[in-house]
Amino acid sequence: MTAIARATRAMLFAALLGIASLLQMQAAFAHASLIGVEPVDGSVIAAAPASFSLSFSEPTSPLSLKLIGPGGAATALDRYALRDATLDIVAPGGLANGTYVLSWRVVSEDGHPVGGSSVFSIGAPSANAPPSEAELVDWPVRIAIWLARLGTYVGLFLGVGGAFFLHWIGGRSRTATYFGTASLSLGLVAVPVSIGLQGLDALGASLSVLSDPIVWKTGFGTSLGSLASLAFAALLCGLLAFRLNGLGGRVISLIGLLLVGAALAASGHASAAHPQWLTRPAVFLHAVGIAFWACALIPLAVAFVSRSADAPMVLRRFSKVVPLAVLSLVAAGLLLGVIQLGSIDALWRTAYGVVFLVKLALLVPLFALAAVNRVWLTTPAEQGDARAVLRLRRSILAEIALVVAIFAVAGAWRFTPPPRALAMAAAAPASIHIHTEKAMADLTITPGRAGPVRASIVVMTGDFGPLDAKAVTLVLSNPSVGIEAIRRPATKPGDGTWHVDELTLPVSGRWTARIDILVSDFDLVKLEDTIDIRP
């Protein structure tokens, strides 16, 4: 057994242990709840505080503490001390007047992350509405996620794909096996690490808490968990395939290739798009196509660089089947692009579209090189033309570089929601639940942004019983911008809900919503709360 194989086996074992312990963690029952906060939520204080404090019902440990300033910029609060169940946080110096949001996420002893935020103002509230939860881009985490993704792609496409190539096309050699195993090892490290990083990202926590089990559990709980499991299985198949000969190796390497497709189809933006019966198989085909094409590059390069005698034969066999793979890869890729982008101008108007364009731009020289190889170089190289062989070798190395660059660019999609999802987010409803002793109501405003909207109301008695109201009226007002009550009677279409259809909310911001429920002729219940309407 070689040193690499031994190291790989040790790594594998460690990774499996890690995953097994993650799976064993149990959901717990009670979480810590916040019982006090300084400054008090909604308060206006005269001068900037020297510290903040959060008191919980049980001891906690902080995952992420942020202060979002009046301008919307977030500062991470990393100086704090735990005193029993109270968290004392040192406030940053030089806080200007205005409204702040103290945003916190902690892990309670039972292992559950709990989060929330508290709003306070120094001097006087800011003129504009309090800043909403702003995104603090944690660059170290983001770069680590991107690197882990790149490593995952290299392991899946070059490693698992490489194993498939060696078994089904040919070109097996010590060097090819070495590169393949190295790619797989990179993937076997990158895949588990990406779970922890995903956990950090989901919790809004920084790299310093990566060792916290809750981070890994959270990461595994996201859709990345299923991707990671399948990808890990695919990498293991790849590793196994490198050790096997004959039919066993062929079968295992094929399973590995199919698992690559399944892994990518299990997670990510594209698989989440509708219709899923179309997008998931498309992602599967796209991934298998990439794996098939990319997989050839390392064995081919190795074969030509080492001047292997059967290199021309391998190349010929590969050239016969590659158009099929490229066709399915391109067709599936274009289909997904169309679904995700939704419109042409999204190509240059959104970050997602720009990544798409860069990826296309890298694909052009890749396809050009592939075409040159196939049309002009393959036949002379097969016939032993030394200049053609030299050119082919250079061309294949350039292709490898381009493929890795494309993986790197595709990895950036992790951070750019597709226009389809952006449009969905913009159309997402705003909703509130108002609960009083006498009655409760769910109010949903669709879309949850300024402009023409529809409102849907579900009313119930205070103890969740049915409430057959005689009439329901929705009253919306926005006193901060001088909009007095907009009053609309709701109609009852017969599905148990109440509707207000023709409604226009002229401005975004925090509206006051009141629902007047006429329970009987002489009994009117009024429920009131605020609802945030996006611009």
Binding site: G451, I486, R487, T504, P506, D521, F522, L524, K526
Partner: protein
Amino acid sequence: MKKSILSAVALLALGTTAASAHITLETQEAQVPSTYKAVFRVGHGCEGKPTIKVRVQIPEGVIAVKPQPKTGWTIEKVKGKYEKSYDYYGTPTTEGVKEIVWSGGSLADDEYDEFVLRAYLTGDLKVDTTLYFPVVQECTDGAAERWIEIPAAGKVADDYETPAPGVKLVPKK
């Protein structure tokens, strides 16, 4: 954008008209226990429409209710059980009128009228509180105004858009 601002302004205008035309009680103070003559003053219809029905809910603790007949209007006395037994000059009383309905007439929006009943305010009512008589005013075309809002603790009738008419209860002199 201009259009939506305009429609918002239109909504504003519509939204604020309803509130001003309250139904009120003529006598704003009553002693307990004693007999009280409640005069409901109706000064408006519902958004310009004539009133065709006035319904008054009798609160708990108010018994021996007798409406005053009114020319052109039919009176209906909805009877039911009280929550407890009340003492009416030594007679335990457990049921009686819980709602009075005047209907069949028509009172134009630009006319004024009074609807009268006489009742006994039992000693179970707390002094230094306000006793509310929720009133539903029904008009033509299914329009209605509901003067049924009872102020929560710490609030007064003026905090509400459609408060029920009330009478302040004071100790018997």
